[in-house]
């Protein structure tokens, strides 16, 4: 019973969205839509602007998560594995973007983008997205590294492997679950980013959240619902595909002493 209620609470908004998206007018006091249609979806999926926005959002989120991982990896490794003077302050600096109001960051980035000519470009948006994704990537990876045992790498080193080889054949394999989780965080943050995209992109780069916001102000519930569901689909699919990695400790997959 408790479970059922939890599921209901989680799914009810989604079901409502689904009903709206498939209805052709749904008015009070009807409990369910009187007429059904998949028009909204077919219209959106045939609309080149929407399709381009989906592809753009996916591509941006993918590049942003990849860059966040690459930039965050060395920092997370150092924080997770070593103690050094001033570690507290490094943490603080890394977390700053999450505590400063997004609008303040956004305005600053917007001005910077205009000055450097990055305004309205995909590169500008990617760099802007990295600001909020990086703290989460570093935080997740630092947790992974705190439980990571470097002795695996020392073993490989003693067996003659070069540092590059060790990174690709040992470290990445051991850290794959943690990297997937950290990358997923970055992906989701970038995927749902509206404010920074708008401020830096200036409306010239249309991502799905930007489209969604303009649809919301348009006020057609069918379109809004269908677009919302399209917006939800990729993250849900990605989480479903990587769910088995979530919460898994990279170092205790094996060993039974």
């Amino acid at each position: 019973m408790k479970r059922f209620l939890i599921w209901l609470a989680l799914l009810a908004p989604l079901l409502t969205l689904g009903l709206f998206a498939l209805s052709k007018g749904w008015f009070y006091p009807e409990p369910f839509p009187a007429q059904w249609t998949s028009q909204a979806f077919s219209r959106l999926l045939n609309d080149s602007r929407t399709l381009k926005a989906i592809l753009d959002s996916l591509l941006l989120a993918f590049i942003v998560s990849l860059l966040s991982l690459i930039i965050g990896y060395p920092a997370a490794r150092e924080i997770g594995l070593r103690d050094f003077p001033g570690k507290k302050y490094v943490w603080l600096a890394i977390f700053l973007p999450t505590v400063i109001p997004p609008l303040a960051i956004g305005m600053g980035l917007s001005i910077l983008a205009l000055q450097t000519g990055l305004a309205g470009t995909r590169l500008g948006i990617i760099l802007a997205h990295i600001v909020p994704t990086l703290p989460y990537t570093v935080f997740t990876l630092a947790g992974v590294f705190a439980r990571y045992d470097e002795n695996y790498e020392y073993q490989a080193l003693a067996l003659g492997a070069s540092p590059t080889r060790i990174f690709f054949t040992v470290t990445l394999r051991l850290l794959a679950p943690g990297l997937a989780v950290a990358g997923l965080f970055a992906f989701l943050i970038s995927w749902s980013q509206y404010l920074l995209t708008l401020l830096v992109g200036g409306g010239r780069v249309l991502t799905l959240p930007v489209l969604l916001f303009s649809a919301v102000s348009g006020g057609n519930p069918t379109t809004i619902s269908a677009l919302s569901l399209l917006f939800l689909a990729p993250p849900v699919l990605i989480i479903a595909a990587t769910a088995r990695f979530l919460g898994e400790n990279p170092n205790d997959i094996h060993e039974r002493i």
Partner: protein, 345 residues
């Protein structure tokens, strides 16, 4: 075959006041197994890291066959590790794990298969190439780790308490296996341990580490029977130390009175010691006898451990298990046979 030489190694860490290793000197012969014994935090593991190149010494040199390896990259040194945990790569099967180093060195698939099979025979686990490491027991994992390290025929094998997490029977059989394989392949080996029994059972020589250097090094038997200094003696289980003035075969101690000693040459202030199993307990008085009363007896199967009160002082003696277990408060004579009293300074 490789000799291993340490000259005046010094190593400090920023967070510690005293250096972990301080003018550390050691020579290991080719094919020899030397164990490094000592309490934890004494720099044993640091030493292994220095050899493997994971850390650098502040001063001093490490030489393989007389040639410094300090400028050699860690992955070119051919010094392999065996830790408390096997650290088998979980994403590779047993065969691939053992072949890891061979693959790095560019051996062909065929050569790798042959060498892996050879190593599995050597460690007594033939035919398990395809098994994933997590299906093996702790002891088996350690054997595979040993095979993975030795298949590349390294110059030096570094054992960092590799048997600690294993149950006693597994530990003993693995100690024997490692020792036999090490002898058979003639690989120069350093064993770090805090377990005296393990060090004695496995080493050609054992070195006791104190204050960042080797306090004593010798064959296990000699170090156990005639430790050269008080610290070493304590470490190998000596409990009774007698301070006094020696002259012409007699030791005069304020605490223990007059005792006969064998060493006629010893003159002046000295400390003598005796192993607990050399102390005799009997009813009759004789030479070097002290009167006391039994405090308690613990039966250990191979020996009886007794605590005997001599006035205010308490003395421990290990007597053969065939003896009667004496009741508490029984008056006895404690004999310190003069042939077993040895000088430790």
């Amino acid at each position: 075959m490789t000799t291993l030489t340490f000259t005046h190694i010094t190593k400090s860490y920023p967070k510690r006041d005293t250096p972990v290793l301080d003018d550390f000197l050691l020579d290991v012969q080719s094919g020899e197994l030397v164990s490094l014994l000592g309490p934890s935090g004494i720099g044993k593991s640091t030493l292994l890291k220095l050899i493997a190149g994971i850390e650098r010494p502040d001063a001093g040199d490490i030489r393989f066959d007389g040639e410094s390896v300090l400028s050699t990259a860690p992955n070119q040194r051919e010094a392999v590790f065996m830790f408390q945990k096997a650290y088998l790569f979980p994403f590779l099967n047993v065969g691939e794990n053992i072949a890891f180093g061979l693959k790095v060195k560019g051996f062909s698939t065929k050569e790798r298969l042959i060498k892996v099979a050879e190593m599995l025979d050597l460690i007594g686990l033939p035919g398990i190439e395809k098994r994933p490491p997590n299906e093996l027991s702790g002891g088996e994992q350690q054997r595979v780790a040993l095979a993975r390290s030795l298949v590349i025929r390294p110059k030096v094998l570094l054992l960092d308490e590799p048997f600690n997490s294993l149950d006693r029977p597994v530990r003993l059989s693995l100690q024997e296996a490692v020792r036999n394989i090490q002898r058979e392949l003639g690989i120069t080996t350093l064993l770090v341990t805090h377990d005296l029994d393990e060090a004695m059972a496995m080493s050609d020589r054992m070195a006791l580490m104190m204050g960042g250097k080797v306090a004593a090094i010798d064959k296990p038997q000699r170090l156990f029977q005639k430790p050269p200094c008080v610290e070493t003696a304590k470490f190998v289980g000596v409990k009774l130390f007698i301070e006094g003035v020696a002259s012409s075969g007699t030791l005069v101690s304020a605490e223990w009175g007059k005792l006969k000693i064998e060493d006629e040459q010893k003159v002046g202030r000295s400390i003598f010691a005796i192993r607990p199993e050399h102390i005799r307990i009997q009813k009759e008085k004789c030479e070097n006898a002290l009167a006391g009363v039994v405090k308690n007896c613990v039966y250990r199967g191979t020996q009886i451990e007794m605590k005997i009160a001599l006035g205010e002082r308490v003395l421990r003696a290990h007597i053969p298990a065939k003896n009667e277990i004496m009741p508490a408060e029984e008056p006895v004579q404690v004999i310190l046979p003069k042939e077993h009293l040895f000088a430790v300074n």
